[in-house]
């Protein structure tokens, strides 16, 4: 039975990545290979970035005999990244699949359904954790090679992924328990998840600060070890200590078992709970919805409702909005500290002084890439795509509404974040304006890119909306590709700064981005519209 469920899950995944859903035929080998290659390149790019961090820590800590601390620090980062990568699809992935009724009507123990769905969450967490753990192990082996530590480190990576799974499932479970009793689920689910995540990261940063403190005051080591023993065990296991590995394995497996047990007990109750949507009937006339509006606004309103109606969509494709506003507010609150740090950088690293506006702009672009609103928007039409196709609508108008949603959501926070950064770094007014326009145009590029990719790789037959949102190539490519794009912008500046100043460079970016957007928009309105019509 478990095998059959796993096979179903695998077939769904296989069909999503390797089959054309309309013809049922496998995608062309070249196309599939190209996308896989792109994924690998993105993975390597990010892994290399983390390797640089790992290498600098390993080179400093391992010779001093603090190898355990190196592993503990990197393990914490990996845990944070793994949770970040999988937490937003846990709630919907475990509890809100469209095949709930089908599976629950069959003689399948609910815990098996839960276990199979947890594999999806596990895979996502594992992928994100590995982005840190693989470079961590490589850096260790470069500084202190050894076979037994290598085996222990690989086992540790697997064990750590269990902890990531337990933590994300626990968060998803709490959100499910609370939201099952709520009426306005979407927004409250989003707020709850963000609150839990904020709490998690407060704890995470406290532990990180605690570890840094240990590093500075080694006399406190003994005390710290006692109070943070699981972390110490993790670090020692990374060094190759068998007993510590055993202890950490016991902790990780016990944590996972406890989590599975608690979730299995309540799974059937949560997924079969009355949604409470229509408990009290209200008069539809009171909703004041019968106000006429034009076609473009009707389409835009439909997109907004879709976005606000799905916690998974909001959390996975709108997190950057929250981060951009939070970054702007934090920069203003800590104005003196940030300016002091910037002055220090200018004094000690004059090479970076001129690059500040470009780096600031790149930071905003990194955050803007966390909002791939358009990237799953075509797939999310799902089985109701017939509606738009049967109505007297131009496909170009439908795609424009999707672009508008992205831009309306992202424009405000992008402008705010870029403007605040320009102000904080004391940029000239004209440079500030260039920063804002560059960041805004990058946002527009991401909107167009997401839509283009989704039109090329649509998935309309999903059973769980996390599939087009979280396990989606277009979404991953906008996020990771956006980060790579930001790095390219900074790299291009350092390459070209001999010939042009900051202002000219930003102005050049504006021109290039605008041309690129125009070309992409033209493709969308012509070829993209044709593709949408024939979905």
């Amino acid at each position: 039975m478990l095998k059959a469920l796993l096979k179903k899950q695998f077939l769904e995944l296989n069909a999503f990545y390797f089959q054309n859903r309309k013809t049922g035929k496998n995608r062309s080998k070249a196309g599939t290979a190209g996308f896989i290659a792109l994924y690998i390149v993105l993975f390597l790019f990010l892994a290399f970035t983390f390797f640089m961090v790992a290498q600098s820590l390993a080179a400093a800590l391992i010779p001093l005999g603090y190898g355990w601390l190196y592993f503990a620090l990197m393990g914490l980062i990996s845990l944070a990244f793994g949770v970040f990568g999988s937490v937003f699809n846990t709630y919907a992935g475990l509890y809100h699949a469209k095949d709930n009724e089908l599976l629950l009507a069959m003689p399948i123990p609910p815990r098996r359904i839960l276990l199979v769905r947890m594999i999806g969450v596990y895979a996502m967490g594992m992928l994100y954790s590995c982005l840190i753990m693989v470079p961590t192990i490589v850096a260790w082996q470069l500084n202190a090679p050894g076979l037994w530590p290598l085996i222990a480190q690989l086992l540790l990576t697997i064990l750590l992924s269990f902890v990531v799974l337990a933590l994300t499932c626990f968060l998803g479970w709490i959100v499910a328990l609370i939201s099952a009793r709520l009426k306005n689920k979407s927004m409250i689910t989003v707020l709850l998840t963000l609150a839990f995540l904020a709490l998690y990261y407060v704890v995470y940063f406290r532990i990180s600060a605690f570890l840094r403190n240990i590093l500075e005051h080694t006399d406190a080591l003994g005390r710290a070890m006692r109070s943070l023993y699981p972390l110490y065990a993790f670090g020692r296991a990374g060094e190759g200590d068998g007993l510590s590995l055993l202890v950490f394995a016991s902790i990780a497996l016990a944590l996972l078992a406890l989590c599975v047990w608690a979730m299995a007990r309540s799974f059937i109750r949560i997924v079969t709970m009355n949604r409470g949507d229509g408990a009290k009937k209200t008069d539809y006339r009171a909703q004041r919805a019968q106000k006429a509006s034009g076609v473009p606004n009707a389409l835009l309103r439909r997109e907004i409702r879709h976005f606000l109606g799905s916690p998974t969509y909001m959390l996975n494709c709108g997190l950057g909005l929250v981060l951009m506003v939070a970054a702007a507010v934090a920069a203003l609150i800590k104005l003196d500290a940030v300016r002091g740090a910037l002055d220090m950088i200018r004094e000690n690293m004059p090479v970076l002084a001129g690059a500040m506006p470009v780096i600031g702009c790149a930071l905003v672009i990194v955050l803007a890439a966390l909002n791939p609103v358009t990237a799953p928007s075509v797939s999310l039409e799902g089985k109701s795509v017939w509606l738009l196709q049967s109505l007297p609508l131009r496909s170009a108008d439908i795609l424009t509404a999707k672009l508008r949603l992205h831009l309306y959501l992202c424009a405000g926070p992008t402008v705010l974040c870029a403007a605040v950064l320009a102000f904080v770094m004391g940029a000239e007014f004209s440079v500030g304006v260039y920063m804002v326009v560059t960041a805004l145009l990058a946002t527009m590029l991401f909107a167009a890119l997401g839509l283009m990719l989704n039109l090329k790789r649509p998935n309309l037959s999903w059973t769980n909306e996390t599939v087009p949102i979280k396990q989606s190539m277009p979404v991953a490519m906008v996020i990771f590709g956006g980060w790579a794009f930001a790095a390219v912008v900074v790299g291009a500046y350092f390459l070209l700064r001999r010939w042009c100043g900051t202002q000219v460079f930003l102005l050049g970016c504006i021109v290039v981005f605008a041309i690129l957007y125009r070309l992409m928009n033209r493709w969308l309105m012509r070829r993209g519209a044709e593709i949408f019509s024939s979905l």
Binding site: T23, R275, D277, G278, K281, T282, D283, Y284, A286, Q287, A289, Q290, K291, A292, S293, G294, V295, N297, A298, R301, R302, R305, H306, L308, G309, S310, G382, K383, S384, W386, L387, Q389, S390, L391, P392, L393, R394, S534
Partner: protein
């Protein structure tokens, strides 16, 4: 009103519809029957413009579905066999969205929504999210949305599936009223008794090929429609 001429549609090697021609005049309720996989839904989707066909021509009120799809869609309404509606909207939000697309004035849409929602006993549920609707309620909502812009032609795929007896009766009355007012209806069904009582004309399709069409009397003669259908299927 609707003219289908030599329609052919293939899926890979398989011909789903093969050289099908039909003409539906204003005032006619035209039934479309055939076994599962005979090509009914493919034909209906081709008419509505949500499926590209290989060859042939389809015109609605003189407009070609291929070259003037928007003009055609303005004149028709489509109700699929399994209405997957927007679950992120409430019933009234969905109806309002459809009315916006067809540019139905506010006072007209208000009157029609009130009227049809009362007829189908859905008024009390329009404020609820579509995700909370039963299959029958979704079907009712799809029917109401199809009637909002007063279409000349209604294409329906198994419209009575999921409807309660009263709603089925209401829908049949509305279908007749539309045709009496000069509209036309083309619908598929497996319920042969309904087709026999309701339709002015009938078409039978098998393996993508139209095997018989015409007025009810021409198709069935003195036999029952069920007998004729079973005989033709053998």
């Amino acid at each position: 009103m609707l003219n289908i001429s030599h329609l052919t549609k293939t899926y890979g090697e398989k011909k789903a519809v093969d050289d099908l021609s039909l003409h539906i005049a204003p005032g006619e309720i035209y039934g479309f029957i055939g076994h599962n996989g005979a090509g009914k839904t493919t034909t209906l989707k081709s008419v509505v413009g949500i499926l590209q066909f290989d060859s042939g021509e389809i015109t609605i009120d003189g407009c070609s579905v291929k070259s003037e799809p928007l003009e055609c869609k303005k004149r028709l309404a489509y109700i699929p066999d399994n209405p997957d509606l927007y679950e992120f909207m409430t019933g009234i939000q969905f109806l309002n969205f459809i009315a916006d697309i067809f540019e139905v004035p506010a006072d007209v849409r208000r009157e029609r929504i009130d009227r049809y929602a009362a007829l189908f006993e859905l008024s009390g549920d329009l404020a609820s999210p579509v995700s909370a609707y039963s299959h029958g309620m979704k079907q009712k909502l799809a029917v109401i949305s199809a009637l909002l812009h007063d279409p000349k032609l209604i294409i329906m795929d198994e419209p009575f599936v999921g409807l309660d007896p009263k709603a089925s009766h209401t829908l049949k009355e509305i279908m007749r009223d539309i045709c009496d007012a000069g509209g036309a209806i083309f619908f598929s069904t497996h319920v042969l008794e309904v087709a026999e009582k309701l339709c002015d004309k009938i078409a039978i399709i098998r393996g993508g090929v139209l095997i018989r069409s015409g007025t009810m009397e021409e198709v069935k003669g003195d036999d029952s429609l069920e007998d004729v259908f079973l005989e033709l299927e053998e």
